[in-house]
Structures are given as structure tokens and as C-alpha cells.
Symmetry: C2
């Protein structure tokens, strides 16, 4: 009965007169979709519980109204947080009005918009001068664009409920000026290829669609005429990219996504950018279906959602590549929109429903209802994360992120980074890797030095230490040459050329291999890292075999950091602890490391055993007695306590020329309970690693465990073809195999 | 039908001939109880699922048998862990045999016991010489006693199933020698008042009960004749206590527990000791009901269980007072026994059932079945932890642990320690406090420097740094005088005299007060700490007002450490970071602290704001410009990486004589989500604290918040009676009140 009444009421609304050509709403839901949504209410779906949650958030402001203060503060401060709250609440109020037809929501939007209409024409740019593109409501245009992306949806939902006079006034005094401000008045922001500018393109386009202002929509899609100047932003990133010939929303899609849906700034920013990409795409699909935006570029927007999901750990948190605040996950509001749309506009993939169930709410739009109904119908199947290479670059030929996973979900995520630099948010971290075991970080990527929106930390923006520490090479688990960062820390040089993907082979889940090369980040130095994730019944958990080869004609000092988590338990070398601690250097991030202890490495293998949460880890590395092992922790030259004081150890090989190989195995093993106080398998199993050969042609290593079982791994460093045939004589045995690598177990001689 | 058969079968068994006077089993279950247990099986209770779990653990060894290796290793090593596994499995096998009547379990026990019978007579004391009381199966007698406490239960369960010849052989060749070894052959271990010796007493008593050997039972209950020598153990603790006139199990109860059930070594060791206390008590109650052991000393054993439960945080983890490994909780096997027995032999308190449900299993004994049946009948009610003072000392007049709690479970646990020293496991931590907010530590007690049973950390025993760091005063949140530990770090002096409880008043849940004094730990220095947990609608969460008063005729340097968790966010003082880090001192724990930064305190109040997990914390302290603030982290002089590198800050007041007051407020406030990236209430609310008066008679402080609300707290330092009447003139106002303290809000002057 209830549904019937809804249909009847909405049928009447459908027949109200139209303005211009358009039926409202038109952005995130259409009139027809609203009718369908109303008819499906009350079945106890996730959509119903989502409405209840959203009502609870919005209803508290229905009587009090929303404050619209004169802009003053940075992120974390009152005026910033209030304007942010306003746009989030108004967008929700708009959908509630459409779905419930309760006028109180429309009134809340109208009254708030007229407060903005009063204030906005009087505003100059924000008093803070921190941004190269200062906003009016916020300290940077980015946040003004956020505001307009959300508020245009609210406006759309009440557009035909407002009087013509009200619409005209709001269009003329608030929305057209705001759209102009974000575009023609701030062209170097609007025309940039960058996640911030994607928000601006979407904002201008969406308000254009609401106002039926085709000029704004075209600017949004195709940008403004290109400037000739070479401009920089306040982080030192280039405003105009080399060879950039177009701008606007379509150019953002072309440029930012690789054919695999990887976004060059990394998953943290991809998550952020996916909202304007997808919400404007949805609006375009509703208003301009002829654009076929979801099919654009081989459906790259939908691929982008899958790329994001595959870049998460067992907790759903994005790998903290490049500038990224740790902890951001697929539970974010952006991913709630993304999953429903990927379900609806993709292949109706039922495995996405399992993640939507985890999110415990759906967006209040048509695709949210479709996902909720499918869940109710029991269509959900588990989402299985895969070992996957996500190529970078618009053509997919500029490096990649290689992700190796053990087949038991969440058991091991190994992430090797050999992607493009990632522009202003990139880190100098080529060939670094990080690793998760279940929900825990084993080797960490530091992420960004920033507390987003926490005011006491420099207004929530990037801290000075983000540049001096977090971006530097030594802050990552990759070889540092001569205590300098890759490309001497120059973004422009790093942006110009990517590493080379050499092998990514995950066909055999028990022997997954990724290998990449870089010859640019250090002049005259060739780097190749090969990582193998090996499952073998001789070992409790998958092993990581890591072969980091360095080749140079000149002598160089090499340092390989390991940012482990937890407590160092035991090593086979004698450490000498410093009696006073000094910084490890003066620049390139070394100034932020306190050197704690140092020891001569063992001749043969150096072993370091540590413990974190409930698990033990052991790293076994080939070393000679001329190598050093250093332990350190972060925190030197940090007067404002901006850095986490996390520990690290380093393998150091000084004065190396020719071919040098860091060969290591990382074992995950054992368990310890603080309740039962039982420890099992607290020691690693690997006893030896031997470098048999390391030429430009082949790298060959043997490794042995406590049961005297021995394995040999061989990789061809020149022939990557699966069809290649190889023959090598090792220790008087002739080995033959096909393809670029092989692993075999040696029979024990009796 | 099934139950009927069980009864029939067991009725037959009851009629088998008896040996001596006794019916078997007799220790943890009796023949009659077993009949009742069998008849209650199969109702889907927690007891049924517990049997399934225990079967799964034991069945894997039924065919393989249990290895009985020649003792060699320390904790964490193979032989140690195997013998430990053996006793745990055998005890379970015994109960399974009784309950299921499946002979395979009896056979497993018999075969294993005969392996021990073969080996034991040939054993010398363990090759490791680390312990003052070396065992035979293990490196210390303690573990041999553990073995016998568990295995005597297994033996009891098959005693009348064995042939007389088998019994005689095992008694003569294994169990009597073992009981003699633990008692007459190791008298300074057996006669000690200590948790280790409680295990020995119980072991000898329990095997005595099984073998109907009254001599052993009497030794267990009353000890051996006392030695005249003053002996020490290998940790430097006294073997014989001052004035100790008796030994044995009853003396352990008399001496170790206060009338409130607090155990002087602290909750970590109480948890460990509760197993032999309770299992031997149960055996005595079954075999010698005339002892009325559960009523002994005003039912102190049952009170001990409640004392333990009240010393846990929201995760059920024991407060890590004295030597304690963090993470030990009421999910331990000892507490599983304890809760069932406290239910059965206490008041059948239905709130205990809620914790038993959390434990997800019950012990396979009669009380376990009774608890499981009560849960099935729906009798469970929540267990509510209380604000409670747990007095220390056999008479309850030697200090206490004061626990203040906010009434919302888990919201705040504030633990102030003014108990006895706690013998060899005590820390020099008088008047220190620690705090939990929900499941997170806000101010930590370091606990012990030890990884129990992790072999690579010195065999799992206490590390050198336990003495040089963890026990020292500076490792705790209490005032350190002249950079020396209390009592100059001498256990004997500290053991001799306890602090004085002054006030513990929790009648008003919004204003809870604990205050204690010490005049002994520093010669010529009077210490009094008063802590107030204040709930007021002006503050988001309960405030902690901390008044630490120091009085001395001579000049002293005072230092108050705060071992916070998380990231320092902001302060109102200028810190100068050291360019090289040095240890803060050379002894008394200071040699383990790296000094990081120092700043002149503010004139008025110094504020430090930090963030951990999702919550902000702000400490506001009265300071003058002559005070210093120091930040540091643990880890100096730690060549084996035995310490956690946790952070701290310190308030330093140098060259003070007469009366000095550290007046501070700790606020818990705000929230931050790394997913929504919203921060709320990130700053504290307190703006000022003023010391109005601090005489031997009264301490008076005002404090103010951002809304200019002002409060005054007054405590009488001499009159603690609730009946006392007070009159004071403060800032020209006359204040009158009754009782030792008062808090009032000042009206603002218009």
C-alpha cells in the first residue's frame, strides 16, 4: 500500500511543467530513477538502513539550520570544517528530499544557499596565502570545487521546487560567479592535469548541467584555451605538463589513468579523484548519454575502481604509495559511490556486493538501490584480490605497480613500485617494496608526513618534513646510492622518464615473479630488482626472495633500508650501540635518521629476527665482512615532532663498482600469544643464501634451510621472452630451461 | 537414553574396590561429580563445546604419543616446551577419560608416565645454572612444580584404572622422588613465601592426596621446619621474609593476600598463582572438606578472583603493575579455572557468567558444568567493574592500589599504586599512576623487560634491563627525586615499609578522589599524591586532576615523567631539539633514556597535546619559567635491543625546597578518523590552573576552561575524616565545607 502511494505521488510530480529542455533532478538521480527508488523502499534493504543513517545526520540541522561563517581558517579550523560540513549535509538533504518528498529538506537547502548567496559576492580570495590557487570559501580552490561538486547535486534536487525568481537569483549571484571563479578567473588551476583540477572540472560541469549552461559544460569537458607559460604550484609541481595540448575533464581521464585504471598519483589520490570522476560521469550519462562516458577509453573509469580495490590490504586500506595518509580505505565515502557505480555501469559483478556489504551503506541513488536489491536477493559472492600488475602511463608503457599475493586472502601482499614518479605527489622510491602479512605491515612505506585536516599540524596541510623526509629515497625500502635521493630529488627529472617493467609472471601461484629495471635515477648506475613470492611446503608461510642488482663503472656506496615494524629480537652480528646518537647525514632525508647502532656484517649471511604483534620475521641477506649493518630510527631534525619515530635497519655496501647483488630472503614465521605465553617456530628456517653467478646475462642464487634442503633460482637478465631457451653449467651440472627464470630444488647427494 | 547408559556404567565403576580410604578421582573432580557431569552432557552447553575443543587438542597425540626428551633447553627451547605441552595435554586427557570413559586417554597417560618413570631416576638437576632452585625436567623447580600440579590430576584420573603394581611402581620411582625433590631436597624453594613456591606446595600436596600420603599433604599445608639462614634468590629477593614463622600453602594464603584479595606481587603473578591456589583448594575441599579451605581467611581465595577481575582494562588485560608481561588477560587458562570456581564456591554470582561466556570455554570439571548450565538457563548478567581500593598487606594496612573508573564501562581506568613493594617482582614506583581510555593505554606502566618463553630473548627469562630500567622509578609516572630511584633501588628497604593510604572516596561517581602519602622512599622528603576523576557536563570526557605535592627541608631536583602513547602534536613552549642525543644519566634507569629535546616551561601553564589511535589528549600543568620540559625516548644503553623505544616527556623542577606542587589536568577529547578525515575537538578545553594555596593544612587549586568557567578544588592534607568541618578564606571569600575535600564551580562576576 505504501509503495502504491509513493508511485501515485511521484507520478503527479513527473507531470509538473519543465524548465528549458530538462527534467529535474538530472545529476546523481533522474526523475524516473527516483520513481523506481521510491517504489522499492521499505523492503528492509541496505538502502532502507542507509536512508535512516543519512536522516539521522541531516535531521539535526533541519531546525537549527547550517551556519555559514565568513571564511578565515585553514583545514581543521572552524570556518573550514563548517563549510565542509555544509556541502556534505546539503548533498544528502537533496537526495532525502527527492526520495522522501519531505519539504523540510528542500527548505534547509534553500535557506543555506541564500546565506551563501548573501555572503559570496562580497568575498575576496581567502586570507591565507599558502596556496597557489586560493579559494574564496576555503584556503584553496580545491575545497571550493569540492563544495560545488556536492552543492550542485543539492541544488539539482530542489531546482524545480524553487520559484523561477529564486533560481535566477541563485544562478546569477552565486553559481555562475562561482563557476567563473573556478575556471576563467583561476585558469592555471582549472587547466591543470591533476586530481585537484578534476574537482574543478566536475564542479563547473555539474553546475553547468543544472543551469543548462552549455558554455560551462564545454569548458568542463575540454578546458580553457591553453597557456604558453611554464607554471609551478606551491609544492614545486609543474602546472602544465610536457606536451600537454588539452585540458578539462576528458583530458584528465586520458592523461591520469593507465589502460589498467592505475592513476599516476597513486591510490590515495585516486580514491579522492574518483568522486568527481564518477559523479560527473554519472551526471553526464544522465544528461548527455551520447557521450558514453562510462565506455570512454575502454571503460577506464570502471577499471579505475578495480585498480583501487586491488591496491588495498586485508583491512581494505590503500597501499600508502606516494603522498598518502595511512588508514584511508575502501570504507571512504568516495568508494561507496564508486562501488555502486562500478556494479551498475560495469558488469554487475556480484563480487563487488561483498564489499558493499562491508561498507554497511549505499549511496542514495539508483545504483545504490540496485546494489542493495541484489544483495537482498542473495547475489553476493566474495571479492578475491589478485596478483596484478597495474601499468602506469596513458599508454601503459611507463612502468607499473607489481602486486604479488599469496592465494589465501590477506596472507601476503607484496607491492613493488616501478611506476612513474606521480608528479607533485610522487616519492623518489623507484624499485622499493612494501609488504603486509594479514592486517599487519611487515615492511612499511612511510606514507606522507601530514595529518590531513588536523589543525595543529600546520593547518592539516603537508608538513615541511614531507619533502625533506617522506619523499626522499632513504625513506623507502630501496637502494640509496651515495646517500643521495634518486634524480637528486628533482621532480621534473623524475617525471620525465619511468622505470622499465621487465617481468611480471603470476601464472604459477607458488612461484610469482616481478622484475623491473631503472637506468635513469642515478647517473651511470643500472638497477634491477627481482622479487619472488615462493610458496613451498618446506616453509610455514610464503617466502620473499629479493634480488637487488646494482651495476656501475664507477665506485658507489650502496645502502638498502628496511623499515620493519615491531621489536628487533636477535641477529648473528655484534652491534655496537652509539653512546650518543647523531643524524645519519645532512640532506636527502638522512638528516632525519638517528643512527643507533652499527656492526660489521657476517661473512656469508647476516640474519635479523624481529617480532611484531603475534608473528616473527627473519631477514637473511648475503653479506661479506666488509659490509655494515646499521640500525636507526626516524626523528632527527624534527623540531615540531612531525615525524613518527619508527625503526629501520640498513644493509650497507661501500665502495662498490661493477656488479653488486643484494640477495635476501624474508621469512614470516611462528606465533606467540601473550595469553597462553606459548611461542612456536620463533626462528627462521633459512640457513644460507649463496650467489652463484651475477652477470649481465644471468643471476643465480642458491638457498638452503635447516633441513639442508637446497633450492636454486635463476633469472635471465636479458631475455624476458617466455619462448626463450636457456642452458647453463652450474657447479658442473648442466641446467636447461625455458622462459626467463626457473626455480628448482636440488637433490641431496647421498 | 544416552544419559541413562552413562549412569548405569558409572554406577558400576563406583562399586569397584577402593584403595585405602579413598574414592577416585579425588582432585579436580570426584566420582559423584563425574556421574553428574555425564548425565548433563549433550544439551548443547558451553561444556559440550569445551569437550570438543579439548578432544581436538588431545586426540592428535593419542596415536603418536608424547615425546619425553632428556631436559636440556631453557624456556622457548624444544625440551622445555615439550615437557610443558606434556603436562597440559595429560591433565586434559585425564578429564576426558573420566567424562568419556574412552580408554585411549588413560593409555596415553599411562604410556607417557612410564616414559617419565624411565627417565626421571637418572636425571641430575638441569644443566642450566641460571636458577637458584634448578629443576630436573626444567631449568627451574617452578616448572617442575607446574608439571606435577597438572600431572597429579592426570594420575588421579587413571589411578583406579591402573593395576596395583603399576601404581606402586609409579609412586615409588616417579612421584615420591619428585615430591621429595621439590620439598625436602630443595627446602629454600619449598619454604619460600612466593608464587613459585605456591606451585611447589600445591604440587606436593596434590600428589600426596592422590597417593594418600599424609606426610606429603602436611608438608604441603604447613611447610618444612624453618631455616635460620637469610637467603636470597637469583633476582636478589629475600628467600625468608622478616618475621616469617611458618611456610607452606596455608602460610602462602595468609601472607600473600590482603583482606581484599589483592596479591602483593601484583595481578600478573596473582593470575599465575591463582591456579595452584585454586586447584589445590578444590582438591582439599574434595578430600579434606573439614579444612573448609574456601572459607579460610574470610573467603580470601574467592575475593582474590574478584580482585583480579577488577584489575583489568576494557580488553580484560591485567594492569601491568610490577613485573608483568603486557597482554596477559582474563582469557588465560588460570582464569578459566578461577571463574568457574568463583561461581561455584562463591555466591553463584551470575555476573561471572558473562565473563565465562567471553572465555568461550569452561574447565571440564563440576563447576565448569554448573556454570555452563547456568548460562544455558539464561542466568547471565553483565559484570560491572567498579572503582575500588584493593588494600595490600595481610592485615590490609600496608598501602593499596586505588582504581578510579568512569561509570561507562571501559571509558576510563585510572590506577594509582601505593601498595607494598611486592618483593622480588616489585617496582620502585610508589605513587605512580597509569591510565586507560577504552581499550587504549593513555599513560603506560612499562611492565617487565621480558619476553616470556621467547627463547632468543635470554631464554625467555627476565632481561638485565628489567632491573636496570623497568624496575626503576624513572620508568614510571611518578616524581623522581635527584635522579635517584626510591629507596636507592634497594628491595629490602622498600619491602620493609609501605606508603599510607590517605583518602579513597568514590561515593560520588562524578567526583572520585584517591590520595596517598609516602615519607620513606626518599629520605627527608614527604610525598603526597591526590588524584581526582571528575565528570562534568562542561567536558567531553572525565578529567584527571593530579596534585603531586613534595615537601622537604633540603633542596632537591624533581622530575615527573609521563609515558604517553602516540604522537606529540603541539605544545605552547619552544622546544630545542638536541643535535646529538645522549643518555639522560648514568644510573637509576636514566642511562636508558635518550634525551631528545628540552624547553623552558611557560610561566603559568605548560600544555602538551598529543594524539593516539583516534583520540586527542592534552596535559595542562602549572609551571614557572624556571621549570624545564624534556622529551625523551627509551632505548639508550640497550645493546641487545631489549627495550621498547617508547616516548616520554618530563616536567622538571630543579632546586626545590619547602612545599612544591605539580598540579596538572589530563584531558581526553575529540576524535579523528583516517577514513572520513574529519577531526573534532582536537584541542583541550582547560586554559589555566592556578595554585591558590599549598600548605601542610590545605591544598587549593583553581582551574578554568575556554568558556571561562572556573572550578576550585580543596583538599585538607591533615584531616581525612568525613566528619571534619573546614572553613577557609580564599580571595576574600569564606568557604565552608565538611569532609576532607570539596570541589565547587565559581560563579562568574558580572
Amino acid at each position: 500500500m505504501k509503495e502504491f502511494i509513493y508511485i501515485l505521488v511521484s507520478a503527479i510530480i513527473v507531470q509538473t511543467p519543465l524548465f528549458g529542455q530538462q527534467t529535474y533532478p538530472t545529476l546523481s538521480v533522474t526523475k524516473g530513477e527516483v520513481v523506481e527508488i521510491r517504489s522499492a523502499l521499505g523492503q528492509g534493504t541496505l538502502f532502507d538502513t542507509s536512508i535512516d543513517k543519512v536522516r539521522a545526520q541531516v535531521d539535526q540541522f533541519v531546525t537549527t539550520g547550517l551556519d555559514v561563517p565568513v571564511p578565515k581558517d585553514l583545514a581543521g579550523g572552524y570556518t573550514h570544517e563548517q563549510h565542509k560540513k555544509n556541502f556534505l549535509i546539503l548533498q544528502k538533504a537533496g537526495l532525502l528530499f527527492q526520495i522522501t518528498e519531505e519539504e523540510k529538506y528542500a527548505i534547509l537547502i534553500k535557506e543555506t544557499l541564500f546565506k551563501y548567496r548573501e555572503m559570496y559576492p562580497k568575498l575576496e580570495r581567502h586570507p591565507s596565502t599558502k596556496s597557489y590557487a586560493r579559494g574564496k570559501l576555503f584556503w584553496q580552490c580545491l575545497n571550493d570545487a569540492n563544495w560545488l561538486v556536492y552543492v550542485s547535486q543539492a541544488y539539482d534536487c530542489i531546482y524545480d521546487w524553487l520559484s523561477e525568481k529564486e533560481r535566477k537569483e541563485l544562478n546569477k549571484e552565486l553559481f555562475v560567479p562561482m563557476a567563473n571563479f573556478l575556471s576563467v578567473e583561476t585558469p592555471r588551476f582549472f587547466n591543470r592535469l591533476h586530481n585537484h583540477s578534476t574537482w574543478a572540472n566536475a564542479a563547473v560541469g555539474m553546475i553547468g548541467l543544472v543551469m543548462e549552461n552549455e558554455d560551462l559544460v564545454q569548458k568542463a569537458l575540454n578546458g580553457l584555451p591553453m597557456s604558453k607559460e611554464a607554471l609551478k604550484d606551491n609544492d614545486g609541481g609543474s602546472i602544465t605538463l610536457k606536451g600537454q595540448k588539452k585540458a578539462g575533464f576528458l583530458a584528465q581521464i586520458d592523461f591520469s589513468f593507465s589502460p589498467d585504471g592505475y592513476y599516476t598519483e597513486g591510490p590515495y589520490y585516486q580514491r579522492y579523484a574518483m568522486y568527481p570522476f564518477l559523479i560527473f560521469a554519472l551526471a553526464l550519462d544522465n544528461s548527455k548519454p551520447e557521450v558514453k562516458i562510462f565506455e570512454y577509453n575502454n571503460e577506464v573509469l570502471i577499471k579505475g575502481v578495480y585498480a583501487l580495490l586491488n591496491q588495498t590490504n586485508a583491512k581494505g586500506e590503500f597501499f600508502p604509495l606516494n603522498d598518502a595518509q595511512k588508514g584511508m580505505s575502501y570504507f571512504s565515502r568516495e568508494l561507496k559511490l564508486a562501488l555502486s557505480l562500478a556494479y551498475q555501469y560495469g558488469t554487475k559483478d556480484p563480487s563487488l556486493l561483498s564489499l558493499i556489504e562491508l561498507q554497511e551503506s549505499v549511496p542514495l541513488i539508483y545504483s545504490g538501490m540496485q546494489a542493495a536489491l541484489a544483495i537482498k536477493e542473495g547475489k553476493t559472492i566474495p571479492f578475491v584480490k589478485k596478483s596484478v600488475m597495474l601499468r602506469d602511463g596513458a599508454k601503459g608503457d611507463e612502468g607499473a605497480i607489481g602486486i604479488l599475493r599469496a592465494d589465501k586472502e590477506g596472507e601476503v601482499d607484496l607491492i613493488m613500485k616501478y611506476a612513474k614518479h606521480g608528479m607533485g605527489h610522487g616519492h623518489f622510491d623507484r624499485l622499493s617494496y612494501s609488504m603486509f602479512y594479514g592486517e599487519q605491515e611487515v615492511l612499511q612505506d612511510y606514507g606522507a608526513a601530514r595529518w590531513v585536516n588536523i589543525n595543529q599540524k600546520d593547518g592539516g596541510g603537508y608538513l615541511k618534513e614531507n619533502k625533506t623526509w617522506a619523499k626522499q629515497t632513504v625513506a623507502h625500502n630501496t637502494v640509496v646510492v651515495d646517500e643521495k635521493s634518486q634524480f637528486r630529488g628533482k621532480v621534473k627529472a623524475a617525471d620525465a622518464i619511468a622505470p622499465t617493467s621487465y617481468i611480471f609472471d603470476v601464472d604459477n601461484p607458488n612461484l610469482q615473479v616481478v622484475s623491473a629495471k631503472d637506468t635513469n635515477c642515478y647517473t651511470g648506475v643500472e638497477l634491477q630488482r627481482t622479487m619472488i613470492l615462493l610458496k613451498d611446503s618446506s616453509f610455514e608461510n610464503p617466502l620473499v626472495l629479493d634480488l637487488f642488482a646494482v651495476n656501475s663503472e664507477e665506485e658507489h656506496d650502496l645502502l638498502l633500508p628496511y623499515y620493519y615494524k615491531g621489536q628487533l629480537m636477535q641477529t648473528n652480528i655484534d652491534f655496537k650501540q652509539s653512546t650518543t646518537l647523531s643524524a645519519m647525514g645532512e640532506s636527502d632525508g638522512f638528516q632525519h635518521l638517528w643512527k643507533e647502532a652499527e656492526g660489521k656484517a657476517a661473512e656469508g649471511v647476516t640474519q635479523i629476527n624481529w617480532f611484531d604483534k603475534a608473528t616473527f620475521f627473519t631477514l637473511t641477506s648475503t653479506t661479506t665482512a666488509s659490509d655494515n649493518i646499521i640500525t636507526a630510527h626516524i626523528g632527527a631534525n624534527d623540531p615540531n615532532f612531525n615525524l613518527r619515530h619508527d625503526p629501520a635497519f640498513f644493509l650497507q655496501k661501500k665502495g662498490k663498482k661493477g656488479r653488486t647483488l643484494f640477495a635476501s630472503i624474508l621469512e614470516t614465521h611462528g606465533k606467540y600469544s601473550r595469553v597462553s605465553e606459548f611461542a612456536t617456530n620463533a626462528y627462521g628456517s633459512i640457513t644460507d643464501i649463496t650467489i652463484i653467478d651475477n652477470t649481465s646475462e644471468y643471476t643465480v642464487v642458491n638457498f638452503t634451510n635447516k633441513q639442508d634442503e637446497e633450492w636454486t633460482f635463476i633469472i635471465s637478465n636479458k631475455q624476458r621472452s617466455d619462448a626463450s631457451k636457456h642452458r647453463l653449467t652450474i657447479e658442473n651440472r648442466e641446467i636447461k630451461w625455458g622462459g626467463p627464470f626457473t626455480l628448482f630444488k636440488n637433490e641431496l647427494e647421498q
